[in-house]
């Protein structure tokens, strides 16, 4: 046991580096993906049929394709279209597309949860479409969407493990490399798992707390 603890201590900096890279990729994909998801959530309700249909196609492709395949498409596929991306850039791009598609549905749900009376009150006050969206619908809708968005952020962080397949040196790549060079796969992978759990468990608990808070707020 103490032998394994010693190994873990030795490996920890390297694995933490991998975890940090995963967090960066997840953070960047969300920073790009969530605003894009917001745009898709709005265009899917647009008056123009063309815009609505285009949005639906983008969302269905983004959600229907496995994240792994999106990653491979970005890293191994785009070069044959003349666009060569680093593993980091391809990871962020693919996961951002995935995030945009999923969060658009989450945000749409949040916006739809805003009571009709709220929109009517804004209309009756003569507020413009844009002001109604900005000051009335978005603040309330995004508050509803916040817990599931956080939940999805955890999923994206977990999804960065798939970047192993496109040679990004994230947590799992590091654990695998350690395993390959020492033949101690199990302890290396267990430590990697513990690191994931150490982030994801508290984060899901936070989501739960937020959900209950928000529920209480809405009942009030």
């Amino acid at each position: 046991m103490s032998e394994i603890l010693g190994l873990w201590l030795e490996w920890l900096p390297r694995l933490l580096g991998g975890l940090w890279l995963g967090c960066k990729v997840a953070g960047l994909s969300l920073i790009l993906g969530i605003p894009l998801g917001l745009v898709l959530a709005l265009t899917v309700q647009a008056k123009s049929t063309v815009l609505r249909a285009a949005t639906l196609v983008v969302v269905e492709i983004g959600r229907g394709t496995p994240a792994l395949v999106l990653l491979q498409l970005a890293y191994f596929g785009l070069p044959s279209a003349g666009l060569t991306l680093s593993a980091m850039a391809a990871s962020v791009l693919a996961l951002a597309v995935c995030a945009a598609a999923y969060t658009s549905e989450i945000i749409r749900g949040g916006l739809e949860a805003v009571a009709a009376g709220q929109k009517e009150a804004a209309d009756a006050l003569g507020m413009s479409r844009l002001d109604k969206l900005r000051f009335i619908v978005l603040p309330q809708g995004l508050a509803v969407a916040l817990p599931p968005l956080l939940g999805f952020s955890i999923t994206i962080l977990q999804g960065t493990s798939l970047c192993f397949a496109i040679t990004l040196p994230e947590l799992i790549s590091q654990a695998y490399a350690i395993g390959a060079s020492t033949f101690r796969y199990l302890p290396a992978l267990v430590l990697a798992s513990l690191l994931y759990a150490a982030i994801c468990i508290p984060a899901s608990m936070l989501v739960g707390v937020l959900e209950r808070r928000l529920g209480a707020h809405h009942r009030a």
């Binding site: 009517e120 413009s128 000051f135």
Partner: protein
């Protein structure tokens, strides 16, 4: 600006041949209504008779199927032929108070009253807040300014909603059963505010189940049934000597309750 001056003798609200269908279900079957400046019109009638729909057509929360709605010189034709601009121009003159208050739960009371002044009238935050505090004082809720709506009673929320609508200096106020969601004693504080408004000369159309309000405060009562106005006239006359059988039945039914 001419057409909205105080000496104008044209009606403030003119509804002509108004029809409204939801799908194949015709809810308003040709309504004509004109409301003069300073008039207080009460609309009563059984539930489902189209009172709310009529009110919502006046400020175009609902588009109509045929006829015209004119408010303070802005005329809107059937089925959203009009642009957002026109709608906003019309709504700027019309305040509305809903049965379910519809305060913005994420904004405090002061912001609730100020936001449209800033965004619609272009007032500065300081100007808007000053006006809001005046109005909140008038409805007796200045001390609630920094609270969130959820912390206020239903009666307080409805009075805040009235202040919010008044903040845009509307020429007419529409009320859709403003006390129906409230316990009777909380309804009274709302009715008191409305009475005061009426005494101040505000033009009002009030859909209500409060027969006392209809009889004592309003100048004119309209009785609706099945999408039509079945009787209208000076409040006392309509309430005490209804001419049609249907109106008599409706009034005796609500009085028995």
């Amino acid at each position: 600006m001419n057409e909205t001056s105080a000496t104008d003798i044209r009606p403030l609200v003119l509804v002509e041949g108004l029809r409204k269908s939801f799908g194949s279900h015709e809810v308003l079957k040709g309504i004509d209504l004109s409301v003069q400046r300073g008039e207080i019109v009460a609309i009563i009638g059984p539930s489902g008779s189209g009172k709310s729909t009529l009110l919502r057509c006046v400020n175009q929360l609902e588009t109509h199927t045929a006829g015209t709605v004119t408010v303070a010189g802005v005329t809107i034709g059937p089925d959203s032929a009009s642009h957002d601009r026109e709608l906003q121009k019309l709504r700027r003159n019309v305040g509305m108070v809903f049965q379910s208050f519809n305060l913005f739960p994420h904004l405090n009371v002061l912001r609730n009253v100020s936001i449209a002044q800033q965004r619609v009238l272009g007032r500065s935050q300081a100007e808007a807040d000053e006006r809001s505090m005046q109005l909140l004082t008038r409805v007796g809720l200045a001390d609630k300014a920094k609270q969130y709506p959820a912390r206020c009673s239903g009666g307080q929320q409805q009075r805040i909603a009235i202040a919010r609508a008044l903040a845009l200096d509307p020429q007419i106020m529409l009320f859709d059963e403003p006390t129906s969601a409230l316990d009777p004693e909380l309804g009274l504080e709302v009715l008191a505010v409305m009475r005061e408004l009426a005494e101040g000369g505000m033009t009002m159309i009030v859909v209500t189940h409060e027969m006392h309000f209809a009889e004592d405060v309003s100048n004119r009562v309209l009785i609706m049934a099945d999408g039509e106005i079945i009787e209208q006239g000076p409040s006392r006359e309509v309430m005490q000597k209804p001419q049609t059988e249907r109106a008599r039945q409706f009034l005796s039914a609500v009085r028995d309750r």
